[in-house]
């Protein structure tokens, strides 16, 4: 699993890739929660996610809830097919803020 | 079932059990964490039949120590008894120790009678004046057959028939 945070103007971009499974999802959780602590909005790029299981989804959900309570914008970017299937299955595609470009997210920030 | 409740009750149970054990082991069983302060004397008896390790030593009816060990001396067929005397109880060189019985069929214990010498015994020394256990059978037979020998005192080697 790859999981790196990059500072952009006005928000943080988390690039997620590879297989997000039971072994790695606690690292994902820590990264998301750590990033949100800085008080910046968070956009998670999921273009390179080849597999995500429900523990990964759970980490995304927890991040979403944390962002909501601290009134931060929290979005998912370029969701890969593999990830989209799981999101649809768990009916979370209707809950998360899904974006197809960084600009879309930036607009929302203003 | 409440989690905290389970843990609390189990904790109480464990503490209760350990307390009950400590009571038995220390108060009743006589196991002590530290040895009671005192010193050990040695005495040789012809017969101590019935005496046990842990038995009590009395002087004037007061408990002044415990029997800490019993060994057999193969050289002269005698019993070697280690007497643990409490601190602060002086034992004179000519003090007399005798094996006695509580009641008619009760526990055997050791009675210490004071001597007259000013010199006191110290740790590891031996008490020479000993009186052995009185055998009930012996007493009865003496009474019946009107044996001429004196009281049931020690140094009688005909105790066993």
């Amino acid at each position: 699993m790859e999981c790196t945070v990059r500072s952009q103007t006005g928000f943080d971009l988390l690039e997620l890739g590879g297989e997000v499974d039971l072994q790695f999802s606690h690292k994902l959780r820590e990264t998301i929660l750590g990033s949100l602590k800085t008080g910046n909005p968070l956009l998670i790029d999921m273009a390179k996610v080849s597999y995500i299981d429900s523990s990964g989804i759970a980490s995304l959900v927890e991040g979403f809830q944390t962002a909501k309570t601290s009134k931060l914008q929290y979005g998912l970017l370029n969701i890969s097919n593999a990830a989209m299937q799981v999101l649809t299955l768990t009916r979370l595609d209707k809950i998360f803020d899904l974006h197809s470009s960084t600009d879309q997210f930036k607009q929302k920030l203003q | 079932m409440n989690k905290i409740n389970v843990q609390l009750i189990t904790g109480i149970f464990v503490l209760f059990g350990i307390a009950a054990f400590t009571y038995q082991a220390v108060t009743i069983g006589g196991a002590s964490i530290r040895p009671t302060p005192g010193y050990t004397l040695v005495a040789r008896f012809d017969s101590i039949s019935g005496l046990r390790v842990g038995g009590i030593i009395e002087a004037a009816g007061v408990r002044i120590g415990t029997i800490s060990g019993i060994k057999f001396d193969p050289d002269n067929y005698k019993a070697i008894v280690n007497l643990r005397i409490n601190e602060g109880v002086p034992v004179q060189q000519d003090a007399i120790v005798s094996v006695r019985t509580q009641g008619i069929i009760g526990e055997k214990y050791i009675k210490l009678s004071a001597g007259g010498f000013p010199e006191l015994l110290t740790d590891g020394m031996e008490i020479h004046e000993t009186e052995s256990a009185v055998s009930l059978e012996e007493l009865v037979s003496k009474y019946i057959f009107n044996s001429s020998s004196g009281s049931g005192s020690g140094n009688n080697s005909d105790a066993k028939k």
Partner: protein, 264 residues
């Protein structure tokens, strides 16, 4: 002739079953030991089982302990009074309770209260495929189900025995001192003089052995229910396995009590 042969045959079959069961129980002990030596170590399940086997038996143990102490006090007083040595009452009650009755009675109470339900629980888990479900989740039933119960038995039975002994001494005290007027000092001093650390230790050793023996037998009868004749009988099988477990572990307690007494 034929009927004699048949009897001999059934005796043989019985012996083979008994050997198999003993073997399985022993095997279970080895499994439990192996699991206990390997991580992960979990303590909460043991606490939970100690609550069930130990803490919940406390009332029963206290009531029966006091009763046994009172009975001993009464009986010993009647006997000792004839010899005029009622001052030995404390010693008699204490030795009887600490060396023999405490460990044995406690173990039998645990068999009846906790042992039977251990067998029933495991038997039901077996017939409703709960044990299989555990296996399929890659969770060792030995670690998850059996080990906490055996450890809890090993710890709870001695603790219960100590409680039993403690209250029994007071039961004897109540009858001897309060009812019959034995001198209070001679009751307690007689006890202190007569009981040695070795006696307490013997009682304790017995109760450790009983604790393991009882939980192990009850666990193995329930857990391996499917391998016995009872296994194919569903609910009825659970009840017969439970009865078997109670009878067997009671006999095991009494017999090993004799063995330990003889060896010590």
């Amino acid at each position: 002739m034929a009927s004699i042969a048949k009897h001999v045959e059934s005796l043989g079959a019985y012996c083979i079953t008994a050997m198999e069961q003993t073997g399985r129980t022993f095997n279970m002990l080895l499994q439990v030991l192996w699991e206990l030596l390997h991580p992960p170590y979990r303590f909460y399940p043991i606490v939970r089982q100690m609550y069930f086997i130990g803490a919940r038996s406390l009332t029963l143990i206290i009531v029966s302990g006091v009763t046994i102490g009172m009975v001993l006090g009464l009986q010993f007083y009647n006997i000792l009074q004839r010899f005029g040595s009622v001052e030995l009452l404390g010693a008699g009650v204490a030795l009887g309770v600490i060396r023999e009755l405490g460990p044995v009675m406690t173990a039998l109470m645990v068999v009846g209260r906790a042992g039977s339900s251990i067998t029933a629980e495991l038997g039901i888990m077996r017939i409703t495929e709960q044990v299989d479900a555990l296996e399929c989740m890659a969770i060792s039933p030995d670690k998850f189900l059996i080990a906490p119960k055996v450890v809890a038995g090993l710890l709870s039975v001695p603790l219960l025995t100590m409680v039993f002994d403690f209250v029994a001494l007071f039961g004897g005290y109540f009858v001897g001192v309060k009812m019959f007027g034995v001198a209070e000092g001679s009751y307690w001093n007689g006890m202190t003089d007569a009981v040695e650390w070795q006696d307490v230790r013997l009682g304790l050793e017995k109760s450790f052995v009983f604790g393991v023996l009882v939980t192990l037998i009850c666990c193995s009868r329930g857990f391996y229910m499917h391998l016995t004749k009872a296994g194919s009988q569903g609910a009825e099988g659970v009840s017969s396995a439970t009865t078997d477990a109670v009878v067997l572990s009671s006999i095991a307690v009494l017999f090993s009590d004799f063995l330990i007494g003889a060896l010590a």
